[in-house]
Symmetry: C2
Subunit: 182 residues, 2 copies
């Protein structure tokens, strides 16, 4: 088998979660099949305020692109954002988010977006769960000894888990429909 | 002379102005030497709301990158943004702005940012000028018969003119300093 082809094939059950921000962009790679979840990689891309905005965006784009090339996830998930502390923060988060979405799209991976409510519902089973409850469940679901750090990485992992659950639910629904049709 | 090398060399007095937005990203290419200004190209990259966000961002990135490769501007200018109608608009503008800054940075062109006040000051000579006054001056300074359309393109041209003026002022100041030192 051609090694290049092997490198290019996507890992079917691997999902990349991203929590974008100009200073810190958290990421998490979760492998999932049924109830079986495994944390493959996680971390944060950090950029310095000493650098210019375009340089920081370049850094986020480069590192995310490199991560995708290395891990070849089959899908990506990002939190949908409607609000923010203020307009200035929204502009800054928006810039990082735009570059993250572009890196994923340019790698020809589908991006799925979930509201904070959907993430909490999927991970904790309760839409009004606190940030701490989400992190605790991330730890438990992945069988970890402690909550992954920094928070941005834990948030990115949570949205990846949300996508795996959601994809599974859709799969259940499709199969149930098929059975009914028989 | 190598044609490829010729294509790669940047046009020294050519400035790209960009006014980013997810639905419409205006652009203008202004050539300037002293008081001599010439509009080389302008227009807008439009994306459809039928497309997904990542697809729209990809479109903006692709078209801006192609424009830069074709025209080879030496510098780029973008308006600094601090405010927006609301947080949702700010997130959307931020995403388009992030992708535009990335396209410019990846083409190895320096990006200069100017506040709306600086743009008005440079183009009209009056920081509280209206949008219409700015557009009218853009028309006059470039010797055009009418205001360039759409508004987003006119705004992009204005920020390019602002950069040319500002670079010229810095040049004056540097020369004045040199004369004093003699």
């Amino acid at each position: 088998m051609d090694l290049n082809l092997a490198r290019m094939s996507k890992n079917e059950n691997l999902v990349l979660g991203v929590d974008p921000g100009t200073a810190i962009t958290g990421y998490g790679l979760v492998w999932g099949e049924g109830d079986n979840l495994r944390l493959v990689d996680y971390g944060a891309i950090t950029t310095s305020s000493d650098e210019s905005q375009p340089q920081r965006l370049q850094e986020i784009y480069r590192q995310l692109t490199a991560l995708i090339q290395e891990r070849q996830p089959a899908a990506a998930a990002v939190e949908k954002l409607f609000f923010s502390r203020n307009v200035r923060t929204a502009l800054s988060v928006g810039q990082a988010r735009g570059v993250a979405l572009l890196a994923i799209a340019n790698a020809e991976i589908a991006v799925h977006e979930y509201t904070p409510l959907e993430v909490k519902q999927a991970v904790v089973g309760y839409g009004r769960a606190t940030k701490e409850q989400v992190q605790e469940m991330v730890k438990r679901l992945l069988g970890l000894d402690s909550v992954p750090q920094p928070d941005d990485a834990a948030d990115a992992i949570a949205v990846a888990i949300c996508h795996i659950h959601s994809a599974r639910m859709k799969d259940f629904a499709r199969r149930a429909e098929e059975i009914e049709r028989r």
